[in-house]
Symmetry: C2
Subunit: 686 residues, 2 copies
């Protein structure tokens, strides 16, 4: 959905329902904020007691107002919320902000009430933010409903937490950053995160979009809005929850939120180019660089310090973040050496060895040489720079000059420049920041930001795939049915026969040839329970195997050709309540859990995307043939992953599909096990 939100963010008139003289009440804060915008619009304070509020006449009801209020803020008790909405719509409101708590976040009854309210609001052609929200802020339109702490700026913020929004504002101040617009999401009864993000794409003052969200509602719509924002040159930085089980449970109890798994959020980020952060600090750190349009094309970084210690500590941290520190060419070292003291290291890190104090201009000169060399994607200046301003006014103006020269060098070269300084608020660095170079206080923040931006450069977003129409079908009852379902989707399995007894097994053996695998077709996890026998070489062994697993084989047996050796992958899918089907691939085998090496994408993916996923695994080198083994058929594995993703996308009732292992040999990719869960079959279908 993409509606006109002008009445919400730039109303010609606003009414505060529940305005109050009591400073302890939100209705007081809302009224005070609204009145700060009196120069831009008519402000009406409404309180059923009438009288005076904040030295203005208070109206007893909305019907008493001299004109229709375009925007009504509802700060009333939950029991009166429906009446207040009706009164607002009757008065002609086109936008409502519901501060009221005690509705959808309390359970099913509250959600039903909200749904009915939303129907009414939409019928009237209006929009509703909240309820259970904390207000809105728009810097350009001078609209401040509850957010006096926010400074104006270029960050468009959509947040499901008021306190976190406040923390973001305080952290942003350190960098001189502020907000173009803020919307407190609340219960998202009508306006959802996706629609609010979309509204920021054409919002000129917004240059970076920041989101804190616990429940993504229509997750694919949210992802598409994020994708379009990124494509329009407005980076989206996302803080969300649910990385751990504890937080997912807490978020559910916080607002009844449907929390998406970290897997689904990661898939959405990969599809859209949206960047996930884990804390308010990281959000603001990354936003600073995004606002400065720092765009390293890769991960090669040169570190520049005015003293050895800083450069070396920075090198360790940058390496640990996954940045590359290439040794500079002899030729380039030769060009920077004349600027530096004799013994100064120039290999990378470059160490001025304290020479900055004598010749401050070397910061500009050497940084320019490095950035223009083409040997690195970014320069990271670390340590003392910014502190020279402490010496004297002369030093301060010289350092500011040099800082501006460094900013010009970065702009001229088209390479990235990031600065870490122990004096981040020095006037010279304020000037540097204003000239478009991000400045951090902590070296880990500077290195982390560069590494994340390099990740971004290496992983162009693939877009949010369209979902196919759902296909009906019976849920697979067990392993054999899951195997048939996946095989019909185009996934290869070893040849197999379903047999009822030893006689049929012998016939199958004749057809398939030894060595064989036998699996009991029963409800339990086969290999844990002893329901799988490998490497059967003779009829005698076959008979023994069947006898041993007789109690597990309520559904008979699967007799299968023994697979050759190869590399084991795991492929699977989950259905996220918000983002829909997500496909996963990872390294399999006994170390799979330890490695925690998986790649994920919104399903469906095509074979090329699936291959990209597989090759993005940290352990993908194993596929290329380690220790003298031949490389395996990654294209075949990608085909299987793509087929699984299409199946998952067309069968949304299959909450989980897993192929473990997916055996990849130099010739083919074979599913050696299959599993599909649905709400209906309940237990594992393996």
């Amino acid at each position: 959905m993409s509606r006109d939100l002008r009445a919400l963010f730039n109303p010609r008139s606003v009414a505060i329902l529940g305005a109050s003289n009591d400073p302890a009440k939100w209705g007081n804060r809302l009224a005070l904020g609204a009145l700060r915008g009196e120069g831009s619009r008519a402000v009406y304070l409404v309180n059923r007691n009438g009288g005076e509020i904040l030295e203005r006449q208070a109206y007893p009801t909305l019907a008493d107002l001299p004109e229709a209020p375009e925007l009504v803020v509802l700060s009333v008790p939950a029991e009166g919320f429906e009446d207040a909405v009706e009164a607002s719509l009757a008065a002609g409101a086109k936008a409502l902000v519901g501060i009221t708590t005690g509705l959808g976040e309390t359970g099913d009854e509250g959600r039903a009430r909200e749904a009915a309210i939303v129907d009414r609001v939409r019928e009237a052609g209006a929009v509703l933010l909240g309820p259970n929200c904390l207000g809105i802020f728009d810097s350009a339109t001078n609209l401040d409903l509850g957010w006096s702490e926010l400074q104006g700026g270029s960050i468009g913020l959509v947040s499901q937490s008021g306190n976190l929004a406040l923390e973001l504002a305080l952290l942003a101040e350190d960098y001189g950053l502020g907000f173009s617009r803020f919307a407190s999401l609340g219960n998202q009864a009508d306006l959802e995160a996706g629609e609010l993000v979309r509204s920021l794409i054409d919002h000129e003052p917004t240059r970076v979009i920041a989101v804190y969200c616990e429940d993504f509602r229509d997750g694919r719509a949210f992802a598409r809005a994020a994708q379009e924002a990124v494509e329009a040159g407005k980076p989206v930085v996302l803080l969300t929850v649910g990385g751990g089980e504890v937080s997912a449970q807490a978020a559910r109890s916080h607002t009844g939120a449907m929390v998406s798994s970290a897997t689904a959020v990661e898939a959405a980020c990969r599809a859209t180019g949206m960047q996930r952060v884990r804390s308010p600090r990281e959000l603001i750190d990354l936003a600073q660089a995004e606002l400065a349009r720092v765009r390293p094309r890769g991960r090669r970084v040169v570190i520049v310090g005015d003293g050895g210690g800083h450069g070396i500590v920075a090198s360790d941290i940058a390496s640990a973040e996954g940045l590359e520190l290439p040794p500079l060419s002899e030729e380039l070292q030769g060009r920077i050496a004349p600027h530096l003291p004799d013994a100064a290291p120039t290999r990378n890190p470059v160490d001025f060895a304290g020479a900055g104090e004598q010749f401050l201009t070397i910061f500009e000169d050497v940084t320019r040489l490095l950035l223009e060399s083409g040997e690195v994607d970014a320069a990271l200046v670390t340590g003392y720079f910014g502190g020279y301003s402490e010496f004297s006014d002369e030093f301060q103006s010289e350092e500011t000059e040099v800082a501006l020269g460094m900013a010009r060098a970065a702009a001229d070269s088209g390479r990235a420049l990031v600065v870490q300084s122990m004096y981040p608020r020095s006037p010279s660095l304020v000037a540097l920041r204003e000239a478009g170079v991000p400045v951090y206080r902590e070296i880990e923040a500077a290195a982390w930001v560069l590494a994340r931006l390099a990740d971004q450069a290496e992983q162009p977003p693939r877009g949010v795939p369209e979902l196919p129409s759902p296909v009906d079908g019976p849920p697979p009852a067990g392993y054999w049915e899951a195997r048939e379902l996946l095989a019909s989707a185009g996934i290869a399995f070893p040849s197999a026969r379903r047999v009822a007894d030893f006689a049929e097994a012998c016939a199958a053996a004749t057809e398939l040839g030894y060595p064989l695998v036998v699996k009991a077709l029963g409800p339990l996890h086969k290999s844990d329970a002893g329901g799988v026998a490998l490497g059967i070489e003779s009829e005698k062994a076959l008979e023994e195997a069947l006898a041993e697993m007789a109690t597990l084989s309520a559904g008979g047996y699967s007799v299968e050709r023994m697979a050759p050796v190869g590399v084991e992958l795991i492929a699977g899918s989950i259905q996220d309540a918000r983002f829909g089907p997500v496909v996963l691939v990872g390294l399999g085998g006994v170390y799979a859990e330890l490695l925690d090496d998986t790649a994920v994408a919104l399903a469906p993916v095509d074979a090329a995307q699936a291959e990209e996923l597989i090759r993005s695994l940290r352990g993908s080198a194993i596929l290329a043939g380690a220790r003298g083994r031949p490389p395996v058929d990654v294209a075949a594995a990608a085909g299987a992953v793509a087929a699984l993703s299409r199946l998952a996308a067309s069968r949304p009732e299959l909450t989980e599909i897993e192929i473990n292992p997916l055996l990849v040999t130099p010739q083919e990719a074979l599913a050696l096990d299959a599993r599909a869960l649905s709400g209906e079959n309940g237990a594992d279908a393996r």
Copy 2:
């Protein structure tokens, strides 16, 4: 070495050699600093031109002083350094601080000059700090030689970088922390990091020891000093370099430092209880908690937020740091619920749901209930607390009362309390910090600190082992000799015979029995080059194998019994230039490199310590028998690791020993390969 350093840190008189009126010179800064201590000692400014410096009479030479200077600071050009030292000793100095650069850090010649100077200094019963150092600071004795930026406090700092020391000082200020003493290490020609750390153990004002060090010199002595400090209740926090190859190389070129590997530093930390950090920020974050004597006994944490968002974000971050967030018992939830609004989540995280504003005392009441419950080792309060002081003076005094109550609750319960606040400098939180509760601005810092302290609680230091006397012996020339060396040290190998040709091989086969393994005894890496044949089942296969590897077998062949299946470990040792022998153990096999799962210790270790190392591997669950396999003989593996560590400790010329794989079966631990490098044999001995 442990000498009396009173003359260095509390001299009765001090002379500044090279004092200057020029504010751009260090000699000016030193003189200014020294003069600030005139109330505590006589200060003499020395400059060969005499005249007046900083409105004091300057002496042309040390011989002109009216009394012997106990401490002389030498800020003179390198070429005059020896003369200055002689003059100082002649004048009766007992401590020298060498600011002068251009000596040991420039190469062998400089190091030789330093060695000669140190001989002279020690002969005279004096001590020398530096040269190439930046001065010293002692808060209690009012001694400030170059470090006017340092605030007094309880951190004793030893640093090889002046700029990093400055950055630490600036970061410490945020938390109201300062320094009891600071020594700039410089080239450590005489006084080394270890001796300076040791001097802080009995230094009453020092409560936490912070170290930035690039070169540990006598690493075992340093480690023993750190161990004693930790045992004396003075935590040691270490910032060092060399995590990455780039930084190691840079540090070498910075001061000619012998940089220890991250492995050796980690081993030293495990032995001593010293805590390694990776940045100045981390050092100060951890120091704050150590100064507050926060001592969680384990990793169970309850998170307390005044709004849902903060609690949930904190939960994700705490989980990611490895903290545990146990759900609180129904009984405990029942006891805290009456303090909170109806719908407030109490499971963990505990969410006040905004109720703090109405009843600020719930912060104290609920925190006390949680800390005293015994269900958690620590409470982490996150978000808004501290911000209530912004409302009014009444709120500020109430919040301060509550904060002090929280500190009392922590003290009474003996559990840990850490606070993260978006208002970390609020007066209420300054009071809280002064009452012994660390307060952080960033949630990741608070969670990281708690996790590191929990790690500490779980890994009691094992002490720095004594090194045995070195044993002589020939360096092993190749695999066979390495195998014999390790076998003689008590490490089990599969039975094997060294043979020269097929006839001898047949005889060996008869003796050993099939299946067999054949290895070519040549200089190349056997398995890469095709010099290993596994699973030989017959004389014919044996003949073929010998023929195929004929060109690789300059030294004949090893015919070995084929090992059974089992879990593969890697065991090895390195000799660190500073910390000496270090033993490593990790999971082996094809995923070993990906997992990067190793445990390290200063060698030698006994079998119990070796077993502890093996069990500390993340992947150690595999040893207990995954997927239906029986558990393997960890004690046998530990015995092999301990034997290897003793060998490494007694043969320091063996720069590297490796057993890869060390095969562990349910019955035994067998070394399937052996490798030992020395400076002499140069190439691999495999």
